[in-house]
Subunit: 467 residues, 2 copies
Amino acid sequence: MTESYDLAVIGSGPGGYVAGIRAAQQGLKTAVIEKDRLGGVCLNWGCIPTKALLRDAELFESFQDAAAHGFSLGKVGFDAAKIVARSRQVADKMNRGVAALFKKYKVTHIAGTAKLLGAGRVQVTGAAGEAATVQAKDLLIATGARPRALAGYPVDGHTVITYRHALELTQFPKRLLIVGAGAIGVEFAYYFSTFGVEVTLVEMLPQLLPSEDEEIAAALLRAFRKRGVRCHPGTTVKAFKAQPGRVEAILSAAAGGGADTPEVWDVALLAVGMEANTEHLGLEAAGVALERGFIRTDGRMRTTAEHVYAIGDVAGRQLLAHKASAEAEAAVGAIAGHAHPALDYGRIPACTYCRPQVASIGLTEQQCKAQGLKYRVGRFPYAASGKANAIEHTEGLVKLIFGEPHGQVLGAHLIGAEATELIAELGLAMRLEATHEEILATIHAHPTLSEMVFEATGVAFGSSANL
Amino acid sequence: MTESYDLAVIGSGPGGYVAGIRAAQQGLKTAVIEKDRLGGVCLNWGCIPTKALLRDAELFESFQDAAAHGFSLGKVGFDAAKIVARSRQVADKMNRGVAALFKKYKVTHIAGTAKLLGAGRVQVTGAAGEAATVQAKDLLIATGARPRALAGYPVDGHTVITYRHALELTQFPKRLLIVGAGAIGVEFAYYFSTFGVEVTLVEMLPQLLPSEDEEIAAALLRAFRKRGVRCHPGTTVKAFKAQPGRVEAILSAAAGGGADTPEVWDVALLAVGMEANTEHLGLEAAGVALERGFIRTDGRMRTTAEHVYAIGDVAGRQLLAHKASAEAEAAVGAIAGHAHPALDYGRIPACTYCRPQVASIGLTEQQCKAQGLKYRVGRFPYAASGKANAIEHTEGLVKLIFGEPHGQVLGAHLIGAEATELIAELGLAMRLEATHEEILATIHAHPTLSEMVFEATGVAFGSSANL
């Protein structure tokens, strides 16, 4: 028997599950095909469980400061198994939440692995090998991405691991090498180092968080070094050799000068980027073209095959959950025939949840320069914020870039406590093309960290009373 | 000798010090007269030191949850003297910051008590009784407010106290009666109860935080009761009797039904509102009129006397630091002859830093009803937020009110973790008259608490994929 739907979605991450629900809300008969757990990587093995782990790292860190705050604690210890267990419970709860939402909105969940057969048909193979066919007017591919495999780095899940294994590590290594200082590498560097692991963080590009503003990346580097994380930006890993429980490699600085002597770690965590899950989907036969490994889409998330759409990591650009959800909305709008404002990929916030947190949106100062834009910058340090002092998080900076002569926000780059929440106001500001005058005419509550957005704007235009 | 200035400001709180610096930045020769510490109540005895205390209460609370997170802490103790000392250090640092800013911007700080003599002259009496005269083209009164004295409640600083004493309490009482559940009463109820004090919180009006949305106040009541705070909204205090170390009173519910038997506490904290500091300033002789106890001002902060302005608490309306700073900007704009957008008192956020935090801006649902507005409401609970689950702060609600038919934000009412930061985006939304469509077209980072603003908007308009 072939089930027929208006829309079949392949993958149930923050792209797929949102698409499924939004389609159902708009009256489409919708199925979501998922071979693993509902919620995808984000919910099960990414955004959500890592934030639980990082929260616990922050808690643990606060215990170290307790005495300065007037508290006496006895001997402080931690149980990594419990920390991981709580993280898993949070992921499980959110996973059940997606199932409940599917039920509420009458989205059919089909367990199995999907393969496009052409003409709106999808073959779904269940865990036991049983196959069924699903028919749908429109198809939406939201199969996500996975850690990029690197030749010469054999991932075994014990000595050479990816984030997927790091998430469930209940016995922490003494010495950990993290290869790649994007968001994942940086977050795990914070997490493990907070619990006493000796972390070496290596990044081939010249800065930590290579896509962030240089000044913010430099501030993060200082903060991490102060915390005792050995950071090596602009460094490649050579002569990588792994055997059970032992990793040996040479860290070779691009600038030269290193002794190029091998060092030894207990575990290596690879965080060197992601690659799209495009295999075994029958894409080629269905006429769905790739572009540099990702599915090629147009502004409405249409692939090169009629009635086939793609969103999220598999469609490339920023590999971010909220970008996937926004694309879900755009794709469903296109499928349901509703008008939808075009996605502006230049206004998508990016967050890294280490401490200090990093959050940004829009252009970096380097991009402004490269594009020959006229701009002015306002900086306000956390150290000058009353709230930051009260909560003793004085490490950090709000850096805002305004276009000349209109004073619109070109970019916002934050490092420090709650930066990942403060960025929301700047997202709205960019969306609405707010000018500095409008930000300054907005009364910000005192004492809050968000006042720093107001103050940094004032600094840029000579009107801050607090710096 | 009479010193001459373009502008003399009386008082150096968040109204006065901001006015002084902003005036100097705009080229005015400016003096700020202050009889006590630079920074006023906000910085020395209000916003800032309380946030330090509350931060420590939150820390202490996190120790209680430590075991559930996989941590072992041993015996946990606290030293109230150290908690208070840190709070004082933070206030001191911010106080020195104002002095440094005055120096940087060449604002003259005159220590002493001011009295208007008319015709732009101000008499300043120093601590030793020495008098001097200051002459200025324009005068700005920013003398603030103080706790309202209540007949029959003799404040002695030990058994019957105000926030001023509560801030420095290093020996916590066993049983504390707090009279008044505005922001101050509620924050201290959270603070003391977290450290094990048996707190009774009484409010004459029918809800805690009487100016907040009823639904939010009800949520706070539930949260506080769950924490063990004895809350009595709609209740008056009768037969109040205080002797050293012992307070006796009858709590009488407006709804009746109470047994009207006296109860006993060790200390009573009065938080029943503020009154303006208008005495001994020579206001009457200078022709500065009052209105219901506050200085009457027009939209540009002008009083009834020519060249005399007033801002902040002494000028009434919302008694909030950021309102005072915004009025400082408006007043200096008027004095310097610059155009300045009129202050909109309907778009001033209000924050209460208890846990769960409360923050709001704009109209409550009750006000919308009373004004006969057409509106729709979107609610998103913290319990459905991935980030809130990850950080285990699932208590709370984002409630947004949108006008019909345009979908502009009429009001935003938040209770829960970081509500006081999340409100910033809604302030900008209201300032820019953003509609629901614009909020929904703004990509919010995942996973953040700020996503709940997006989701609550979606709930109001039937497009949330997460509820």
